[in-house]
Amino acid sequence: MKFSISREALLRPLSLVAGVVERRQTLPVLSNVLLIAGGDGLALTGTDLEVELIGHAELDSLEAAGSTTVPARKLMDICRSLPEGAMISLALEEGRAVLRSGRSRFTLSTLPAAEFPNIEQSKHDAELTLPRGVLKRLIDATGFAMAQQDVRYYLNGMLFELVSGVVRVVATDGHRLAVSESSAGVEFDGSQKLILPRKGVLELGRLLDDSDAPITLVLGPNHLRARTGGYVFTSKLIDGKFPDYERVVPKGGDKKIIAERSELRQMLSRTAILSNEKYRGVRLYLEEGNLRVQANNPEQEEAEENVTVDYQGASLEIGFNVGYLVDVLNVIGTDRVLITLSDANSSALLEAVFEGDQETPATLGSKYVVMPMRL
């Protein structure tokens, strides 16, 4: 194997692929990236056995086709620190990978390409195409609510529900829940449910941008494969039953508040400074036309803020983890937000308020459910 390639052509696919590689590996070959040089360019593969990403780069010239694996992070760090516009040549010499650029030379260890594991290709049941931007907005709108290392392993990921032309995603950590859906540009018939693990969601998100370029999702019984812009992404799925989220989306809360989103977000973030660092509880006092928020910490420091809101009805005092509220206000895309409450022990529902011409085909329908804290 011997080829040359410009630093810029190599760097972006290499850093995306290296992102999949875990720092701590049980199997040495898993900290490597698989390089296959051939007539149609360079293919790069990184895997942690759960998520696999194949990237593609154009070569400047190919002297000898071939394949090998080299340490992913070291290769990336070397490329990143070479000067802009550098030309890189890489050759396999006596079992080592020799990288040359200008007056620099690096000799990297290799492991045979044959040892590199690939995620078994399973039969596929369905295929779905949608704009990259739509998928990105869905993931951005809900990803923050995924659980992390929860024993209820099926919460450590995102539920994808595909029903005739609609993609719905759901994430929850058991304290709060985010659900978002879109039908914009979704080509799909049939119905399918799958749970993509947390790492798969995060890595898939890194491949996406706001463009309308299509991404194709191939759905199998145990895998999801995504193809877009020269990348092939494969992730194992979580085999488990996602809880019935529709049941916990509250219906019939009688206290409806409309607030300016960014004003509310800023005042909550300020109040959070003096909340208990660990539990982050704040008290909300709702009365006609006004919302007062109060926080204090073990040092007896105190914060109090008031904000004008559009609300008529009975007063209510309710506590929340302020982080959960701020997370939602960060991703709601509209100027105003609708909050529906019923009592101090029942969940809050937060939704975007679309006004006039804001509603476009790309609009997401999102709902956020946050459970309170007992005060």
Partner: protein, 354 residues
């Protein structure tokens, strides 16, 4: 300016034994488990220390160094009684006491007017009173903060008294080798050495940014400690964070024995201990396994009840990490945070009912 006193009993368990049996006074003794049960030395007296015996050493090793060593089994009930008497004496001086163990405590003596407010006189009174009432000698350090008070109590051990006044702090700290700083063990000391830092004088020359770069959050603490700064308060009550039991086997056992015979009595003892602590609510379960090569692993999981089959499941996973004969086995629970319990949950049915 705060005034902190650190009191530390001199070889406490051994001192209690020698008090109750004066014939032990001048011969080397150690308190600990039998060598054939793989015991370790908990405490030893000064005659034993002259042979190189020290605490945490295996009893077998201690007997090799000092064949005439008298090895006594610990009698925690008696030590607890003596400890309570000593703490009661401390209590006469101040109620701002943070006990660190049976034989060691911090006292916040800032603003105390007795003894004309003199830390030295208070320390002298504590030492005399403790000896008079309990027959135990203590070493005392007085300083403007906890870290220096603890170093001071060690300075003239045994039966020591050392005071670091605020205007002595600077000179005292700057001459101190970095290994004396709390949190700096052999590994950190070696890293500092490689950076050309052997004492606090050298440590002070380094900018805080560099220390944070090398040591993360601990870098800030090093920066402060090297200047004699330690803002930690004397904490009068401590929250219990976990309850656990463990046992070292006379002979290594295999995974099958652990699963079938060893875990059940441990889980039973844990249940008793939990009852004694008023059946607190449980956050996570954990098992601890130490293998015959002394590597240890701990595995924990939330949302489970402290029942035998759950511990067996955890054990199976922990065992996979070493797959060697087992030397020690422990089971325990991390207690739930009272405040976290206040967060209400979606999907009630997904939480393990207890």
């Amino acid at each position: 300016m705060r005034k902190i006193l650190h009191a530390d009993c001199d070889c406490f368990y051994a001192a209690v034994e020698m008090r109750d049996d004066p014939s032990l006074r001048d011969i080397p003794i150690a308190i600990g488990g039998r060598p054939e049960q793989r015991g370790v030395v908990a405490t030893c007296n000064y005659p034993a220390r002259r042979f190189g015996v020290h605490s945490a050493m295996s009893s077998a090793q201690a007997l090799r160094l000092c064949p005439q060593l008298r090895l006594l089994p610990p009698d925690f009930e008696r030590y607890r009684q003596v400890s309570a008497e000593i703490m009661a004496i401390f209590q006469q001086l101040t109620d701002r006491i943070e006990p660190l163990s049976l034989d060691e405590a911090f006292l916040d003596i800032s603003g105390i007017e007795r003894f004309k407010g003199s830390g030295t006189w208070m320390a002298e009174w504590l030492k005399a009173r403790t000896r008079e009432v309990t027959g135990i000698t203590i070493s005392v350090g007085v300083a403007p903060n906890k870290f220096l008070a603890k170093i001071a109590s060690d300075w003239r051990k045994p039966d020591g008294l050392y005071v670091i006044t605020p205007d002595q702090v600077d000179a005292f700290v700057s001459a101190m080798p970095v290994g004396k700083l709390p949190g700096v063990g052999p590994a950190t000391a070696a890293r500092l050495e490689r950076m050309g830092i052997a004492d606090c004088q050298a440590l002070r020359q380094r900018p805080i940014a560099e220390l944070i770069d090398h040591f993360g959050k601990f870098g800030r603490r090093l920066y402060e400690l090297s200047r004699g700064i330690d803002e930690r308060e004397v904490k009068t009550h401590r929250e219990r964070k976990s309850v656990s039991v463990e046992t070292t086997f006379d002979r290594d056992i295999d995974d099958q024995q652990a699963r079938c015979t060893a875990l059940a009595p441990l889980v039973e003892r844990l249940a008793e201990r939990l009852d004694r602590h008023g059946a607190p609510s449980i956050g996570k379960l954990f098992v601890k396994v130490r293998f015959d090569d002394f590597t240890s692993t701990t595995l924990e999981s939330g949302g489970l009840a402290p029942k035998l089959d759950n511990f067996v499941t955890l054990f199976d996973q922990a065992w996979q990490r070493g797959q060697r004969p087992i030397r020690l086995l422990g089971v325990g629970v991390r207690l739930a945070d009272a405040a976290l319990e206040r967060q209400l949950v979606l999907f009630e049915e997904l939480w393990d009912p207890r």
